[in-house]
């Protein structure tokens, strides 16, 4: 008798197994929705798939009065813009500071403690400060994402560079590398796949900060829309929006993984 931990499903079985819980959840929703609608035809908590399809048709054809774009497109573009700029700033900061802190002990002594302090502040707690200082426009939302994500990424980067084997640095020095060459030819390239990993892990918190900021003060965006229609109990809009957000998140993750595999094949143990 083989042990349970030794049974490894083949590819076909793996896909089937993975699909089972998803199908079960959809089925469960269908049954629950039907039951509620049998009792009360006007139920809004668990809308039927037909009602959701109608809502989807609505927000993919109706135009947003402010931008003149289709509502879903306007919301998605606004949210992705904020997310992209915020994560871009965070990534650039983390890369530069992480490299500096990890490779230069003097810089670590100078900046390490302050970054640790900033990292433990819950970002949502500084959102009011950001609104007061930066106003209610894009800047405060972008800043929340950047501030929320950058300290964690920076510490991860610095830790990674600091943990590169000392043998590598000694070897590079015996090959004539100066501090700058060490940073750009030894530390930086090895940091890149780790940076993408950190970015992938930071996507989750970044979405949280984005939706929180949009919920509080915004006039367009995925988070704004969800919190707006919540007032009308419009679950038929909220559920497709949530599904759309998770699709966007899965897509972004897949793109980052693809970039990492393509650009840094050495880190994935493969050939070029």
């Amino acid at each position: 008798m083989r042990r349970l931990v030794d049974i490894r499903p083949k590819r076909g079985l793996r896909i089937l197994l993975g699909a089972l819980p998803i199908l079960a959840l959809i089925l469960l929703y269908l049954v629950a929705s039907e039951t509620r609608h049998a009792e009360n035809a006007a139920d809004k908590v668990l809308p039927t798939f037909a009602a959701m399809a109608e809502a989807i048709h609505g927000f993919t054809t109706a135009t947003d009065p402010a931008s003149g774009r289709v509502q879903l497109v306007a919301d998605t573009l606004a949210s992705l813009y904020r997310l992209g700029i915020g994560l871009g700033i965070a990534t650039a900061t983390a890369l530069l500071l992480g490299l500096l802190l990890g490779a230069v002990p003097l810089a670590r002594a100078l900046l390490g403690p302050v970054i640790t302090i900033i990292a433990v502040i819950p970002p949502i707690a500084v959102l009011p400060i950001l609104f007061i200082v930066l106003g209610l426009d894009e800047a405060s939302k972008i800043a929340l994402i950047a501030i929320g994500v950058a300290p964690y990424m920076t510490r991860d980067m610095a830790g990674f560079v600091g943990n590169l084997p000392t043998e590598q640095f000694a070897k590079a020095q015996t090959l004539g590398a100066n501090s700058w060459q060490l940073a750009i030819r030894v530390a930086l390239p090895q940091l890149m796949p780790r940076l993408i990993d950190a970015l992938r892990l930071s996507m989750g918190p970044a979405w949280v900060f984005l939706i929180a900021a949009e919920a509080v003060a915004s006039d367009v965006g995925l988070g704004y829309r969800i919190f707006l229609v919540r007032r009308y109990f419009a679950m038929d809009i909220i559920l497709p929006y949530v599904a759309w957000i998770s699709l966007l998140a899965i897509g972004a993750d897949a793109i980052l993984l693809f970039i990492s595999r393509r650009g840094f094949s050495w880190a994935h143990g493969g050939s070029r």
């Binding site: 070897k171 015996t174 004539g176 100066n178 060459q181 750009i184 390239p189 050495w266 143990g269």
Partner: protein, 263 residues
């Protein structure tokens, strides 16, 4: 022969712990020095001193008669037991790295004719260690022996005055280790290298070296063992046929050291 490297009355202390004491030694150009000793006898400290990773507490290190700065530089090459090659560079990239650092201080990358010259030098060096068919392979896809060959090529392309080997073959299979012995002996002869090799394996030191240094403590204080440092207790010139003295074999102990190599 003039001394290439001279250590004058070296002491290395960490706090109140003395690691090396009264160490004076001269290494001649072209010698192949095997360094043996029990764990914690200061072999690695000795290597780090020469490498420049560590400064002596007292005493002087002279390279070519001039005081050496406690800093790694490209006149001393090194091969460690592990992590000697860069995982993000191909074999060719690893060997070209040293040439690119010297040729382009800011970008550390060469272009055009200078790149081709560096590439040719690197390919030649890789061929010398038997990796001419693995130019575009990353270290992760190489065996342990191939990685060490690459590490040697990477160091030799800079033509170092001294090549330091820190347990370079310690993690390899016995058969591969024999191949590496042949390789390093050939490179030592052909390139007129000066090699300092730290090893746990006393037979390896006696097989390869022209001189063996054994590190141990001359004095022991049972109450405070850390207050006496190690120094060179055996300094044996070899003709590559000398076998280790029984007293030294027993001092370093371990049945794994007693097995001889078959050539």
């Amino acid at each position: 022969m003039t001394a290439l490297l001279e250590l004058r009355d070296i002491w290395v202390e960490y706090g109140d712990k003395i690691v090396l004491e009264r160490l004076s030694i001269e290494l001649a150009e072209g010698s192949f020095v095997g360094v043996v000793g029990a764990s914690g006898a200061g072999k690695s400290t000795f290597l780090r001193l020469i490498l420049g990773q560590e400064a002596p507490t007292r005493g002087q290190v002279l390279l070519d008669g001039k005081p050496m700065r406690a800093e790694c530089a490209d006149d001393r090459g090194v091969v460690f037991q592990r992590y000697s090659v860069f995982p993000h560079l191909t074999a060719l990239g690893n060997v070209m790295f040293g040439l690119e650092c010297a040729g382009a201080p800011f970008t550390a990358r060469l272009f055009g004719a200078r790149r081709r010259a560096a590439r040719d030098a690197a390919v030649e060096m890789l061929a010398a260690v038997g990796l001419e068919h693995n130019l575009d392979v990353y270290p992760a896809q190489m065996s342990g022996g191939m990685q060490q060959r690459l590490a040697i090529a990477q160091a030799l392309v800079k033509h170092p005055r001294i090549l330091l080997l820190d347990e370079p073959f310690g993690a390899l299979d016995p058969g591969i280790r024999l191949d590496m012995h042949e390789l390093i002996t050939r490179l030592w002869r052909e390139h007129g290298l000066t090699i300092v090799m730290v090893t746990h394996d006393i037979r390896e030191a006696f097989k390869l070296g022209t001189r063996v240094l054994a590190f141990d403590k001359r004095r022991r204080d049972p109450q405070a063992p850390h207050r006496y440092g190690a120094t060179v207790t055996y300094d044996l010139p070899l003709d590559r046929k000398t076998t280790p003295p029984q007293a030294l074999v027993e001092a370093l102990g371990g049945p794994e050291l007693q097995q001889g190599y078959t050539e």
